[in-house]
């Protein structure tokens, strides 16, 4: 993973991001990070029903989801998203955020079409770095050749892709 590009600038004011997390406080943490990065159009979803409705009715640029509270339904949601090939959001970057990483999660994440798995806790720069990385990788899903496992130096679990 390359370090953040110091010369890069971005204006995410008109970018739309969907956050799906059962923790209201963590949604606020994500909101704080994303608003600091310039995002203004943020859809906060505490469950998959509202997340699905949002994706069905809006064109979005990024999805952040913590699957912990939803189990397999979260991965089914991502798989469904990817299957909607003619939909506006079929190729949108999806980043899984989770405090509990385990080997099966990584396999399932790859299979359902997620772009990245980030272990909570993460730094603000860490999340931004991954957002910029998946933004530049959009459309090349499946071609990523990152090592299968990276031990995060700042998180409790493992950062993988």
């Amino acid at each position: 993973m390359s370090s953040l590009k110091s010369e890069l600038t971005f204006n995410f004011e008109n970018a739309s991001v969907v956050m799906i997390d059962s923790s209201p406080l963590f949604i606020e943490v994500l909101t704080g990070i994303l608003s600091g990065c310039g995002f203004r159009r943020m859809y906060r979803c505490s469950d998959l029903v509202s997340g699905t409705d949002t994706v069905k009715t809006h064109s979005v640029d990024l999805i952040l989801i913590d699957p912990y509270a939803y189990g397999d339904a979260a991965y089914n949601f991502i798989q469904w998203l990817r299957s909607e090939r003619r939909g506006p959001n079929a190729a949108v970057p999806v980043i899984i955020l989770t405090a509990y990483t385990y080997v099966r999660l990584i396999t399932v994440a790859r299979q359902c079409g997620a772009d990245y798995v980030i272990a909570k806790p993460f730094s603000t720069s860490g999340l931004l770095e991954r957002i910029l990385y998946v933004a530049e990788s959009e459309g090349r899903r499946g071609e990523l050749l990152a090592p299968p496992e990276l031990v995060s130096s700042s998180g409790s679990g493992m950062e993988m892709w």
């Binding site: 590009k5 600038t9 704080g32 600091g36 459309g139």
Partner: protein
């Protein structure tokens, strides 16, 4: 001939009125810091609930309590390191692993060790960084010992 619009988020790269990475990170960190009191309060509440189901409860947790313990620990694991308590996150993660690795059984002593560790690490100024790392290594050894004897 006009350029094709860039796909996805990259169309916002280099857009007028943009900010750089350093400024974005500084703003984001400031916003997160503003949530510190609430986050630490939630961590405290989670620890109280965990202690009630482990240290203060003689018997093993039932199925629902087990799931609750796992969720509470995950909450701590997710928040701790974002608010200056990285070792607490690791201890909470270890407790989640313990819950899974001992299922369907339960090892009360190992659970109590984890809960006590989390309580200590929730106030990081009570232990040096070296001591915190030593505690985390100790928790790994506890789980390793359990696995070896299952």
């Amino acid at each position: 001939m006009s350029e094709q619009p860039k796909p996805g988020l990259t169309r916002f790269f280099g857009a007028p009125g943009g900010i750089g990475v350093e400024e974005a990170c500084a703003r984001a960190a400031h916003n997160v810091e503003a949530l510190s009191d609430r986050a630490l309060g939630q961590i405290r509440d989670c620890l109280v609930d965990i202690a009630a189901m482990t240290i203060e409860n003689a018997g093993p947790p039932n199925g629902k309590q087990r799931r609750d313990l796992h969720q509470l620990s995950c909450t701590i694991a997710g928040l701790g390191g974002m608010f200056g308590r990285d070792a607490l996150s690791k201890a909470a993660y270890s407790f989640c692993r313990l819950i899974d690795e001992t299922e369907p059984g339960w090892d009360a002593a190992s659970a109590v060790v984890h809960v006590r560790a989390m309580q200590l690490l929730s106030t990081p100024e009570r232990a040096t960084l070296e001591a915190q790392e030593s505690i985390i290594e100790g928790l790994k050894k506890v789980r390793k010992h359990l696995s070896a004897h299952r």
